[in-house]
Structures are given as structure tokens and as C-alpha cells.
């Protein structure tokens, strides 16, 4: 290892590292703007110029590789002169608008100008003005402030995989801009706000709402997907005003998805519930907590006494905290009810031997050599997981895809099988069969796939999985929500076992693993979520869900709730609750409660409330605790969320690890037949996954949200049915119908209509992956 000297400090550094790396190791700060640890080296800002012995000119620390015996001075007269010279150039055309700049107070240029700038400018010529750009609802621009470091451009090219920003123009006319006056639409686009070292790109929702020094930063864990991105909530006067990432290499690195960044807006949504509500006839009355809780407990007791505990259904969202999941399960069990589930968007809710999980650490995803991705609209399910896999592909991994749509993953896909949802199992069977033909043992799955004819694509995927060292077979949200879930799971397991790959579930909710670990699942005689819809209950207790949106079969759920005698809804938002509920208990939303999530890799991440709950809302764990007491159940005397967590996970993360298991449900693999006719592909759109995202105006203004409002079909299908792109079309499913505008997407599999689930426009439709018809209006 080369031995070098920086500012008199001797240190050994790894060969191939740069002077910047070495300085960081030595704890020496070298000023910089364009350098960023996750991006390629541009060396264009020139702020990190340092003096290197024997070099005739100052050298950029970020781009200069270390050599043995190198002597570097970062603070010598020559280095400082160069750095100050660069700072002067950066400032001559930079506007002096710090007092009205959102970046003021947390601006790299402002900070470094204190150290390297002069108090007055010697520049006497006219200053440059650059036209601002419309980058969409998330990112605000003040392009005159741009210092052309190109971080935002490199982010698009290297991390997001989509170059939505470029730097056309030459010399002084160089400008960062989106191409052809389009806006920025990538699901990770908000990261350029953090990357921008000046106030050129700032948060549009946050614009002019506070100065950084007025904000207190509170740590939180993002509730939107299975990653559990670490973030800081910036709070002023009990209001969350923005969210920024907190570095955690093991989880979100230094990034956030736009969903993690902007969903805080929902905390002040108009339909926040701030007082308990009870229905009296057709009227809703605001009551105090004592009365509301007494009424809820009393009504539950009546149902249990008249119809038995099995007449009640307990449904929770997988995005609640692990403490809430634990108490919710205890409440159901305490009442003797086994109808309990957190898998509300699943068509097939099997009894599994353990808690499904990623099967490896999140960081390991980036190190994979071979991947088979099954039934996943990954970029929109978990944007940062897609990013990890993109980095793996850049390093040479082969990504293979089995899905119902050939969506652009913004990286190279080695081989793919694109088929209608009901054909996914057959596609996997082909791959399994190809592995058998290559001499691999499929175990119990062998017989079911013995007669399957293998396509070239399936053979290529099998060959890909048989090469490479680190491999994974990953099941996504479409596979999880799919009516053939169990068979897809069994096939995936057979493929993984036969190819030596690890089997993983791309768990897409904040605490789905936690919910499974603490038992938010049906008991041996109980009903799962889908069965509670198919076999309506007399009463439902709902925690944190919007049933008409979250359910797998929205129309079925609507019928079940309307036919019931009692619905108790614990929710932070009113939504449609007044249509189906009888008692509405306002609970704290994300950021308003203490708790923990167990993420997809089984990591327990706890957090504190960042703000007080809105109005009289109370953290759900406290509400459940009191309900338990009122129902005279044992073991509901907890004073803190930590105490609940200790009861839920007595050995903390070890309690989770002991339950992680990706084995499929017991039983034989049956290869389901593919259906005829049109099928719906009803994924949850990226900004419809939970109550928060649905209520964040900025997210709802994005192109992704616009796309979710359309019914998508392939051009040949549109032509065959005599329909017109851009015109309204009627979607008919058993149990419901809906009208949406028709869009064209030739990447869909044959026979597929993509109509988003979890969406107000489709909330009267039936199963998300069921048969569907399109009719001309």
C-alpha cells in the first residue's frame, strides 16, 4: 500500500485511491463542490486543488491517484491561492441573493465562501442571468445560482439510470436543463435537491417556508416500503416542513425515494382526523375519547356475545409499527378471534411457516451476480431497491425478469419472459424445467413441470442462473398479490434451490416482516384477509387502512363492509370511513408516534415521534392499550412503546431472526392454467401505496400519479377492440365497473390491461389480477 504524506501526516492508503480519499481518511477536509462519494469523478469545480510535491501545477484532490511517497499540502500558500482563485471565479456570476435563497444556511458555496472568499467582489462587469426551468412539482429551480458542478446530471446518468437533466451549451452559456422542455419524472429525482451544493435546485414543496436554522432535525424511518430508509424530519412549531436522507450505507445509502421525501405533506391534509367520531343513525357526532372507546369496546362485546368471536375480522395495514401490530394481534387473540391479517392486498393469504423476508441483507443485493426478478414493477414498488440492482448490473450482474409488463428498469436486462399474469406460473415452470433438463434436481416440483415445453428465453434464464457466484431469485409485489401466489412461491423456491440461488421476497411494506413475526396473521381456524372479504363478517376492526383502496378486491370489500353491523376504524385520516364505519378513532400518523419497523432484511429500526399528533389523535398503540383494558384483556398495561416492543420482540432482533423463513406453504405444487381473455394487471401505483402518499399534493402532481389514472393497453389490443387512445373506456370486471381514460403501452404482455389498484378511479372494480373487459363508451 502506498505511503503518502498529507499536511505532514503520514498514512498508508489503498492503491488506487485518490488524494481526496486519503485526506478524508486522515480527517483533513479539502473544500469541494463537484466531488461526491457516490458519483463519478468530474474534477470540474477545481475547488479541491492541492499542492503535490514535484507537480508543476496544483492538482485536483478528487481526481489525483495517490502514488508511493507522494507529498501533498492542502493548506500551503500555493494550494490556498488556487482554492481562493477558484472561489472568486465561482462567486463572480453567483447572485448575492442568500437572504432569499432556501439554501442559505446550509449552502456549501456559502460555507466555503466564508473560508475562501473575500468580503467584497472585484468583479465589476455585468452578471450572468439564467432562465429558470420547470422541473415539475418536486424541484424548484433558480438556475442563475448554478455553479455547473454537474452532480445532478451525473446522478441521472449513474444512479437513477435516466438522464433527465443535461448540460447543453458551451462556456458561459452552459446550462443545466431538462431535455426538450420536459420535466423530471424519475422516482428518485428529489435527490438532486440534496446533491446540489447551491440553491439552484431546491425543494418545491418546502420553498420559502422556513430557514434551515429554525428547524430541528428529528430522525425517522420511512414508512413507505420494505427498505426503511433513514431520514431526518425537519420540524418547526410542531410541523414537519421537510424530510432529508440520513446516511445509512446498509439501507438507503445517502438517497431517498421521492415518496420518502415528500409524503410528510400529508400530515396536514384536510381530512386529518382530530377527534373521535361515532355514528348515530345517519349523523356523525364528535365525542370524547372515553365515550368513543367505551362505545367501541361495548359494541365489540355485543357482537362477540351474539355472533361469537369468529364473526369479527381484524385487518391492519402492514405499515403500522411493530408495537401496534403486536397489540392489534393481542386484541384479536384476547377476544378469541382468529380472523386477523395484515395482507389486505393479497388474493392468496397462505399459512406460512415463518415470516417472509429478503433472504439476505439489502446491501448484498448490490453484490449479486445473477438475479431472477419475478412479478415486480420494481422501480415503482421500491425505487431504492431498483437502484441497488441497477448498480449490480453496472458491475456486471445479469438481471433476468419474469413479469407481465416489460417495464424499463433503466438498466440492462439479460433475459426476460413477459407474459400475462395468469401465465407467470407457466413461465417459471419453463425455467424450472430448463434447470431439470440441465441436470438439476427440482425436488417435489419436478413432476408438476415435467411436461412443460421450454422456450429459448426460459432456457437462457436457466443458463444465466447456473452461472455466476452470488445469485438470488426475488419475488415482487405482483407475485405477492397474485392469486397464484403460493404456486409462484413454490416454483421460485424450486428454481432457487436447483440453481443455488437465495430465495427472497421483495417485502414492500414498512413492517410486513414485523407483522408476520408478532403474529398479525390468521390463527389455525381463522380467515385471512381475502377470506374475510369473500366470507363477510358481522364486524370489522380496521387499523390504518382505507379498505376501498387497499383491498385486493375493492368491490368485494365494499360489499362486505356495507353488509356488516359494526366497523371500528383506527385511522389518521377520514377518507371514506364515514361511508362504512360506526366508530372512528383518530390515531397518530407517521412521525407522530414512537415505535419501530422491521424492514425486509429483518432489521429492527426504532424511532421517536417527531411531532405531537394532530388534534386529539393518539398513537395507535395507546388506543389499542386502552381498548384492551376496556375489554378486560390481560397484558395491556404498557406505559411506553419500548415496553410494548420488549414484549413483542423479547430478544429484539434475535426474536425476528428466529422467525425469518422463506419456505412456501406446505403442500403440492399444482401448475395453474393460464386464462383466456383479458386480464387486469392491478399493481399498487407508487404514490397510492398508503394513506400518506395519497395525500401528498406534490406526489399527486407527478407524472407517475397521472399515469395511474389511465387504463393502459397495447396498441394491437386497442385496435382490435376498436377503441381510441386518449378517450374514456369502460372497464368491466365481475362485481364492478369503472370508466378511465385509455392509454397505450406496448410494453405490456399480450392480453393485459393495466388498471392500477389502490386508486379512487378503480375502487369499484373487482380483483386486481382478475378477468376484465374493455367496452367502448
Amino acid at each position: 500500500m502506498p505511503l503518502i504524506e498529507i499536511d505532514g501526516q503520514q498514512l498508508e492508503v489503498a492503491a488506487g485511491s485518490t488524494v481526496m480519499d486519503a485526506a478524508q481518511r486522515a480527517g483533513i477536509y479539502i473544500p469541494h463542490f463537484c466531488y461526491h462519494k457516490k458519483l463519478s469523478i468530474a474534477a470540474n469545480c477545481r475547488m479541491c486543488l492541492v499542492e503535490v510535491e514535484k507537480a508543476p501545477k496544483p492538482l485536483p484532490a478528487c481526481a489525483t491517484p495517490v502514488t508511493d511517497g507522494m507529498q501533498v499540502s492542502t493548506r500551503s500558500a500555493k494550494a490556498i491561492t488556487a482554492q481562493k482563485g477558484v472561489m472568486e471565479f465561482l462567486l463572480i456570476n453567483h447572485p448575492l441573493d442568500c437572504p432569499i435563497c432556501d439554501q442559505g444556511g446550509e449552502c456549501q458555496l456559502q460555507d466555503l465562501a466564508v473560508g475562501y472568499g473575500e468580503s467584497a467582489s472585484r468583479y465589476q462587469e455585468p452578471k450572468r442571468v439564467v432562465k429558470d426551468k420547470d422541473l415539475g412539482p418536486l424541484i424548484s429551480t433558480d438556475m442563475t445560482r448554478c455553479i455547473h458542478c454537474s452532480r445532478c446530471v451525473r446522478f441521472g446518468q449513474e444512479i437513477a439510470g435516466l438522464m433527465e437533466l443535461g448540460m447543453p451549451g458551451r462556456g458561459e452559456h452552459t446550462e443545466v436543463m431538462p431535455f426538450l422542455e420536459t420535466q423530471v419524472s424519475h422516482e428518485l429525482s428529489g435527490n438532486v435537491i440534496d446533491l446540489c451544493p447551491v440553491g439552484a435546485l431546491t425543494s418545491k414543496p418546502f420553498r420559502f417556508s422556513a430557514r434551515p436554522w429554525e428547524l430541528s432535525r428529528r430522525r425517522a424511518v420511512s414508512p413507505h416500503d420494505g427498505l426503511g430508509a433513514n431520514l431526518a424530519l425537519h420540524v418547526m412549531q410542531n410541523r414537519v416542513l421537510r424530510a432529508t436522507p440520513v446516511d445509512n450505507e446498509a439501507i438507503n445509502e445517502c438517497w431517498l425515494a421521492d415518496r420518502d421525501r415528500f409524503s410528510y405533506q400529508a400530515l396536514t391534509a384536510e381530512d386529518r382526523l382530530t377527534r373521535p367520531l361515532v355514528r348515530e343513525g345517519e349523523r356523525w357526532i364528535e365525542v370524547d375519547w372515553r365515550k368513543a372507546l367505551a362505545q367501541a369496546a361495548g359494541a365489540l362485546k355485543v357482537i362477540r356475545e351474539t355472533h361469537g368471536a369468529e364473526a369479527i375480522g381484524f385487518l391492519t395495514s402492514p405499515q403500522q409499527t411493530v408495537e401496534e401490530h403486536y397489540l392489534f394481534a393481542r386484541l384479536a387473540q384476547g377476544l378469541g378471534c382468529e380472523n386477523l391479517d395484515h395482507r389486505i392486498d393479497q388474493a392468496d393469504c397462505p399459512n406460512l411457516p415463518g415470516a417472509p423476508w429478503l433472504g439476505m441483507s439489502i446491501a448484498e443485493l448490490g453484490e449479486l451476480d445473477r438475479v431472477l426478478l419475478i412479478g415486480s414493477t420494481l422501480r415503482k414498488e421500491q425505487p431504492l431497491i431498483a437502484q441497488r440492482l441497477r448498480q449490480a448490473v453496472k458491475r456486471g450482474a445479469q438481471l433476468n425478469v419474469v413479469h407481465a409488463a416489460d417495464d424499463d428498469l433503466l438498466c440492462k436486462v439479460a433475459h426476460k419472459l413477459i407474459t400475462r399474469p395468469s401465465g407467470l406460473a407457466r413461465a417459471l415452470a419453463e425455467i424450472a424445467r430448463a434447470l431439470a433438463e440441465a441436470g438439476r434436481d427440482l425436488g417435489a416440483a419436478a413432476a408438476a413441470v415435467a411436461a412443460v415445453a421450454v422456450s429459448d428465453a426460459a432456457r437462457a434464464i436457466a443458463a444465466s442462473l447456473l452461472s455466476g457466484e452470488r445469485k438470488a431469485v426475488l419475488l415482487g409485489a405482483v407475485a405477492r398479490q397474485h392469486p397464484h401466489r403460493t404456486d409462484l412461491h413454490r416454483l421460485a423456491q424450486a428454481i432457487a434451490a436447483a440453481s443455488g440461488a437465495s430465495l427472497g421476497m421483495l417485502v414492500d411494506s414498512a413492517d410486513a416482516v414485523g407483522a408476520a413475526v408478532v403474529g398479525c396473521l390468521p390463527g389455525p381456524r381463522g380467515l385471512g384477509a381475502a377470506a374475510m372479504v369473500a366470507q363477510p363478517r358481522k364486524a370489522y376492526v380496521l387499523l390504518g387502512i382505507e379498505p376501498y383502496l387497499d383491498a385486493q378486491d375493492a368491490a368485494g370489500m365494499r360489499r362486505a363492509l356495507q353488509a356488516s353491523e359494526l366497523v371500528i376504524a383506527l385511522s389518521a385520516f377520514k377518507g371514506a370511513a364515514q361511508h362504512y364505519a360506526h366508530v372512528i378513532l383518530p390515531v397518530a400518523a407517521f412521525a407522530e408516534t414512537d415505535g419501530a419497523f422491521v424492514n425486509m432484511e429483518g432489521r429492527v429500526q426504532d424511532f421517536r415521534a417527531a411531532v405531537k399528533p394532530a388534534g386529539e389523535a393518539r398513537p395507535a398503540w395507546k388506543v389499542l392499550r386502552v381498548l384492551g383494558n376496556l375489554l378486560d384483556l390481560d397484558g395491556f398495561d404498557y406505559d411506553t412503546a419500548e415496553a410494548v416492543r420488549r414484549a413483542a420482540l423479547p430478544e429484539a432482533e434475535a426474536s425476528v431472526r428466529a422467525r425469518l423463513d422463506n419456505s412456501p406453504a406446505a403442500g403440492e405444487l399444482r401448475l395453474p392454467a393460464a386464462a383466456d381473455g383479458l386480464e387486469r394487471l392491478g399493481e399498487t401505483p407508487i404514490y397510492q401505496g398508503d394513506m400518506l402518499a395519497r395525500r401528498a399534493p406534490a406526489l399527486q402532481a407527478t407524472r407517475d400519479s397521472e399515469n395511474a389514472k389511465l387504463c393502459w393497453a397495447r396498441g394491437d389490443l386497442i385496435e382490435r377492440l376498436g377503441l381510441t387512445e386518449g378517450q374514456p373506456v369502460r372497464i368491466v370486471q365481475e362485481g364492478g365497473e369503472s370508466v378511465m381514460k385509455l392509454g397505450r403501452d406496448d410494453r405490456l404482455a399480450d392480453g393485459v390491461v393495466r388498471v392500477a389498484g389502490a386508486h379512487p378511479l378503480s375502487s369499484k372494480l373487482g380483483p386486481r389480477y382478475g378477468a376484465a373487459r374493455l367496452e367502448k363508451m
Binding site: I41, K57, G85, V86, Q124, H148, G169, G171, E172, T174
Partner: protein
């Protein structure tokens, strides 16, 4: 006179014939003989590089880097593809020599590139041609077709079993694409802006493969060297400055144009060849090597011989051999304003000192020229120049500073007069 050891015209000799660009003219005078010999004898690459080193051929594009040394940087045992690239992005104000090679002697360049490709183990060669010259692009394309038809390019060249091909790439006229790594980016279809170095093109060049980039005149000199030997080439010039060189003489002379003379020839002789300074005027200043080279006063220039070392000693550069002659009618402030505008306009904008500094320089000079100069401006120009020079990714920053610093240094009085009197010292 033909291609001949006694003829000092290495690159421009075909212009003495009727159809200078034709394959027939070139082969009739020994063209492609050097290549034929190398392929027949399978001359080892080391021997060729040794000849080039002996010849003291130095890069004709401006930097004057020894060509043999540059060639020796290419990795030998490298398993993948390698490339040879010819830099005909002749955009420096005052320079117009390489276009004449394409127009009048394209085959000598083709042969030079073939020999370079053979020596360096390249898979293919590209000639990056400046975007503002069209006739020359056509001429070179036509020559490629002729050479291909005659078996000098393509598969199994001259029956040797060696495959090699050449392609032309027409640029769009950006000066910065003459910088070798910006040129590579441009060939790759990217925005033409320089890469930072290291890595150098010899290890990470075109498409990330080892690449050697030479100027047009440099490559066109290779056949002569291989035909008559490195020593003969060296003897055309003087030690460390081998060969002859094309000089593009422009400005206030009676016969502007390209003149090929032996390196070491006194400047006065070149000035005579170009017909001398216009009648009734005196020589005032000369930019000896293209607009980036510092200006020299008439006295300093008249004492120089035309070679890298002599001009460097006088405080400027031989550069690309573009000799810009200015007589006593020239206002040096106006001249500098024009030059500064060029660099301001052509800065690629990638790195801070050049993007911001070239505009600053231009605006100050512009103010002085327009009667709004301030006494402190001259020192300010020099200070800004020092902050640009050496701090940029490529040499354009220094190229922009060269004229400013030298104009102010040699003609400070004229600038001061302009500032004080808000008008020109030179009456016209």
C-alpha cells in the same frame, strides 16, 4: 521536386504537380513504398519507433511533444483493441496548414496513419476533421476510397495478412474538440469537453481503449522518415527539432499562405518568402505559433529562428506554426479584444476558472477598448490570468491567458494610453 531526400518539402511537395491529391501522383513518386517495405519485411515496431525517435519529430499540433516518445507510451501486450487518431481539428486562429495536407497530399497522411496503426497495433484509425472545412473532408474521403480500392486499406493489406481501416469523422467546429480528449469524447458521440488526466489516452483513450492521437502534419511526416531514415529527417532541421515544418503566414504580409521550411530557418527568411510586410509599414509584432502563443515584439521575433527551442527562448511558442504578422497599423488593444473574445466564446464551460475567467478577461479588455478602462484593469487582467493558468482541466485556460499576459507585457503603454485617453494610440 518529388518526394526526395534532397527536397526539404516533407508534406507539401505534391503541390508542384498537376493533380497533387491523386493516388497516381503519390505512387509515381514513391508513395506507399515505405508501407510496402514495412509490411514485406515485417519491420518490428521497436525499429519504427526508434527511427521516429531518431528523427526528433515533434508534434506539429502545437505542443511539440516528441512523437517517438508518445508512441512508446502505448501498451505493448494489450489484449483488446487499440486506436490511432489523427487530429485535423484545426481551429486555432491563424492556423491553416493541415487542411492543405488533406486537400493536396491526402495519401501521405493515409500512409502515415497506416504505418502508425501498424506500429502501435491499432485496430482502426479515425481522422477527426474540423467542422468548418468541407472540401478537405471530401478530398480525404475520396483518397480513402482510392486507397481502399488499391488494396492499401481494409483486409489483408498488400497481401500481408494485416487488416486495418481508416475513417473520417467530421466535427462541428468547436475549437475545444482540438484538445485530444475532447476530440475523443466527440468521436464517441458525447459533448466535446476534455477529460481530466490521468488516465491518459495511451491507457484510456477512444472508447476506453489505448489510443494515440497525433496531428495531421505529424502523421504525414512519418512516410518520409520511414523512407529516408530518422537521421535524414533530423538533418532537415536541427538537433531536437527534426524535419521541416509548414508555417501558415497570415496578417500584414504581401503573400500570406503556407510555407514549408526547415526547422531552424531564420524568421526573416520566412517573412521574405511571404513577400514581406506591406509597403509603407513597419513590422510591429508577431504571434509565432497560433493565437494561443504569446505575442513577440518585432525585434524579438526578427532575432528568432523557426524552431521550438529558439522561440521558446524568446518567451513564446512555435505552436502549430501559425505566424500572425502585425504591422504598425494594429491597435494592440483591439487585437487582444478579438483574441479574448475567441477564447471566451470557445471555452467549453466545464471547469470553473476557464468558464468564468475567460468572460471576465474579455469583458475587461472590451471595456478598455471602448474607452471605459480603469487604471487598475491591467494588473487585474494579469491577476485573473494567474488564477486561470494551471488551474484548469485542459490547456484552453492557459491558451486564453497567453495573449492577455503577453500583450499587456509588451505593449503596456498602448493599453495605458487607451485607458487614459479613451482612444487608440494608433491613428486609423
Amino acid at each position: 521536386m518529388s518526394l526526395n531526400v534532397a527536397n526539404h518539402k516533407v508534406c507539401s511537395w505534391t503541390q508542384d504537380y498537376d493533380q497533387p491529391a491523386s493516388l497516381a501522383t503519390y505512387t509515381a513518386h514513391g508513395g506507399y513504398e515505405a508501407l510496402r517495405k514495412i509490411l514485406a519485411e515485417k519491420t518490428p515496431a521497436e525499429d519504427i519507433i526508434a527511427q521516429v525517435k531518431t528523427s526528433a519529430l515533434r508534434g506539429r499540433g502545437g505542443a511539440g511533444f516528441p512523437t517517438g516518445l508518445k508512441w512508446s507510451f502505448m501498451p505493448r501486450g494489450y489484449a483488446g483493441d487499440k486506436y490511432i487518431v489523427c487530429n485535423t481539428d484545426e481551429g486555432e486562429p491563424g492556423t491553416f496548414k493541415d487542411r492543405d495536407i488533406l486537400l493536396y497530399n491526402p495519401h501521405q497522411l493515409i500512409e502515415g496513419m497506416l504505418i502508425a496503426g501498424y506500429t502501435l497495433g491499432a485496430k482502426a484509425g479515425y481522422n477527426y476533421i474540423h467542422g468548418e472545412i468541407f472540401e478537405q473532408y471530401e478530398s480525404w474521403q475520396q483518397a480513402l476510397e482510392e486507397a481502399r480500392a488499391a488494396g492499401f486499406l481494409g483486409r489483408n493489406i498488400l497481401g500481408s495478412g494485416w487488416d486495418f481501416d481508416l475513417f473520417a469523422h467530421h466535427g462541428y467546429g468547436a475549437y475545444i474538440c482540438g484538445e485530444e480528449t475532447a476530440l475523443l469524447e466527440s468521436i464517441e458521440g458525447k459533448k466535446g469537453q476534455p477529460r481530466f488526466k490521468p488516465p491518459f489516452p495511451a491507457s484510456f483513450g477512444l472508447y476506453g481503449k489505448p489510443t494515440t492521437i497525433n496531428n495531421t502534419e505529424t502523421l504525414a511526416s512519418i512516410p518520409w522518415i520511414m523512407r529516408f531514415g530518422g537521421q535524414a529527417f533530423l538533418e532537415l532541421g536541427k538537433p531536437n527539432n527534426g524535419g521541416s515544418k509548414l508555417f501558415s503566414v497570415s496578417g500584414h504580409v504581401n503573400r500570406p499562405g503556407n510555407y514549408e521550411v526547415r526547422l531552424g530557418t531564420p524568421f526573416a527568411e520566412l517573412l521574405d518568402m511571404a513577400g514581406g510586410v506591406r509597403a509603407g509599414h513597419r513590422l510591429k509584432a508577431v504571434i509565432p505559433g497560433g493565437s494561443s502563443a504569446p505575442v513577440l515584439t518585432a525585434e524579438a521575433m526578427m532575432a528568432c529562428t523557426l524552431d521550438f527551442d529558439s522561440i521558446a527562448k524568446a518567451g513564446s511558442m512555435l505552436g502549430s506554426g501559425a505566424v500572425i504578422v502585425m504591422d504598425d497599423s494594429v491597435c494592440m488593444v483591439k487585437a487582444l479584444e478579438r483574441l479574448s473574445y475567441f477564447y471566451f466564446e470557445e471555452s467549453c464551460g466545464q471547469c470553473t476558472p476557464c468558464r468564468e475567467g475567460t468572460g471576465w478577461l474579455y469583458r475587461i479588455v472590451h471595456r478598455i477598448e471602448h474607452g471605459q478602462g480603469r487604471p487598475e484593469d491591467l494588473d487585474e487582467l494579469l491577476r485573473i490570468g494567474r488564477n486561470i493558468g494551471g488551474n484548469t482541466i485542459c490547456a484552453l485556460g492557459e491558451a486564453a491567458v497567453g495573449p492577455v499576459a503577453s500583450f499587456v507585457k509588451h505593449f503596456r503603454q498602448e493599453f495605458e494610453y487607451h485607458i487614459e485617453n479613451k482612444r487608440c494610440m494608433v491613428g486609423h
